[in-house]
Amino acid sequence: MTEKLLSLDEVSVSYGKVEAVRTVSLDVAAGEIVTIVGANGAGKTTLLSATMGILPFRGRIRFDGRDLGRLDIEDRVGCGLSLVPEHRELFASMTVEDNLLLGAFRSSKASTAVAFERVYALFPRLKERRLQLAGTLSGGEQQMLAMGRALMGRPRLLMLDEPSLGLAPRIVADIFKIIGDLRQAGIAVLLVEQNAQAALRIANRAYVMELGEIVMKGPAETVSKDPRVVASYLGFEPEVAA
């Protein structure tokens, strides 16, 4: 296996007395897509938040050989870690272009220009809408903008939290295609999705989370054929229309 980019070692996260994530160990190598599937409330979002530094955790998280324990969110961004949260957290009253520009807040001018070109190539729709206010975009466009903004900082690992949530099937297909393209560009992706079918289709490896614990892991293909996974996450799920 290639060098590990992100590794979580026995990470636990609590909300007061409730332990939402229990001793989870997980890793992502450079340039691979890893997905975490699981039902609502399994602790997937909590795990991403802790990795990004939004929530405190116990255990160890290393990124690119560096201990993230003491770093705050902004420093983690500087290390090349980026999160597109479920609620996207866009700057609604600012233009698409300004949102993207701020995505490159920590970059030099020259690399910002390059990043703009790359993001606009990936999301031509954003270029068309670049002077529109982010809050007026459709759901799919907002998701693209959130991903584009995260990519402006040229991260090495992009964490996506439910990128397909609430989007039309055709747009979901577009988004997943772009996630596949990111792997080609050498960006690792940690993908949290309720749409397990689509996620397992593009991922290299998968983890299954239940009630705050990892209950299964392995190559995405193996996981997607596991009878328990089929029954819980794939069986009753309609075929993704695309």
Partner: protein, 341 residues
């Protein structure tokens, strides 16, 4: 009548500036900046002292606060001590105010030019905003709005007390920014009033350019719009807070400088002036710049007319303005849960 209107607009322009400072600080840090009034006093005293050729004691105040801020910074970075952080802290909190003190000494001795005195005054007062933020607000940046407000009251009282210690109970007045005056019909326009308009307009344009066209201005706006989003792209909340406080202190100081040639300023005068900016900001919902500007002019006009027709009740009338606005807002605004982060 015309004269009263002119007076009102002049004061309104100053209240508008103060209102902007309050809106900015609240949007970025959720702090209701009651000590804005002290920045007015400090600006006024600094400028008045420089114009009379004495060393403004605000320079010493800035140094003292800088040293305290340096100690607070040292304690907070003690676990991640590095040469870079140490040098940065020393530069910002010790060396900068020391250099400013030096500049103030030179300016007090040699400078008789109004623009130079104005610039030096800003140079002295703006860092005080930064240090106040570092000492008081930065360690409690995640507290609720109410806790931040209570802290603001504390800072206001502390700074006012320091004002009394540093400047004494004597009032101060400075010469007008320009002596020119001319008449348009029945209206007599003084250079001072003109200076207020010009500086207010320049400042508003400057702020507009800063927020609309610079990366840091946009980062400040982004922090105001969505704090989590801003952190996720790597904009430090601390940096935004510091910038907001420096800007607010500078705005307060400019207002003070514009006022001090028109009325005598005492160590506690700034508070009342700041409150009028606060009314304008409240009418604007602590969020809208254009509404704040309009409300500020209205406050200025009401003040001018009421001081002519019912001068005993001047302040009462002005502050009563806020009652119908609050009533309307309480009916119109839906319930909001306080943001948690």
């Amino acid at each position: 009548m015309l004269f009263l209107a002119q007076d009102g607009i002049t004061n309104g322009a100053i209240y508008a500036l103060l209102g902007f400072g309050l809106v900015l600080v609240f949007a970025v840090t959720r702090v209701i900046l009651i000590p804005q009034g002290e920045f007015i006093t400090f600006g006024a005293f600094t400028y008045a002292a420089l114009s009379s050729g004495t060393l403004p004691r605000t320079a010493q105040l800035a140094c003292a606060l800088g040293v305290i801020a340096f100690c607070v910074e040292l304690v907070s970075i003690r676990h991640q001590l590095s040469i870079r952080r140490l040098v940065r802290a020393a530069l910002l909190f010790v060396i900068m105010p020391a250099v400013i003190w030096l500049v103030a000494m030179i300016a007090a001795k040699y400078s008789r030019s109004v623009p130079a005195n104005l610039a030096v005054s800003l140079l002295i007062v703006a860092p005080i905003g930064l240090y106040i933020y570092r000492i008081v607000y930065q360690p409690m940046a995640h507290a609720s709005v109410l806790v931040l407000l209570i802290a603001s009251v504390g800072v206001h009282l502390a700074l006012q007390g320091m004002g009394l210690v540093f400047f004494g109970a004597e009032g101060m007045r400075a010469p007008p920014i320009t002596e020119v005056a001319f008449s348009i019909g029945p209206l007599r326009v003084t250079g001072q009033a003109l200076a207020v308009y010009v500086i207010a307009a320049l400042l508003i344009v400057g702020l507009w350019l800063f927020f609309g066209y610079t990366l840091y201005g946009k980062a400040l706006r982004a922090t105001a719009v969505n704090r989590v989003g801003a952190r996720l792209v790597g904009v430090r909340t601390v940096l935004s807070g510091q910038m907001a406080f420096v800007l607010a202190a500078a705005i307060g100081a400019i207002s003070g400088i514009l006022i001090v040639p028109m009325t005598t300023i005492y160590y506690d005068s700034g508070f009342l002036v700041g409150l009028k900016g606060f009314i304008a900001a409240i009418v604007g919902g602590l969020g809208s710049y254009p509404l704040t500007a309009m409300a500020a002019v209205a406050v200025g006009l009401v003040e001018a007319f009421s001081s002519f027709y019912a001068s005993n009740f001047k302040e009462v009338i002005v502050f009563t303005l806020i009652v119908p606005v609050l009533l309307l807002r309480s009916l119109a605004v839906p319930e909001v849960e306080e943001e948690k982060d």
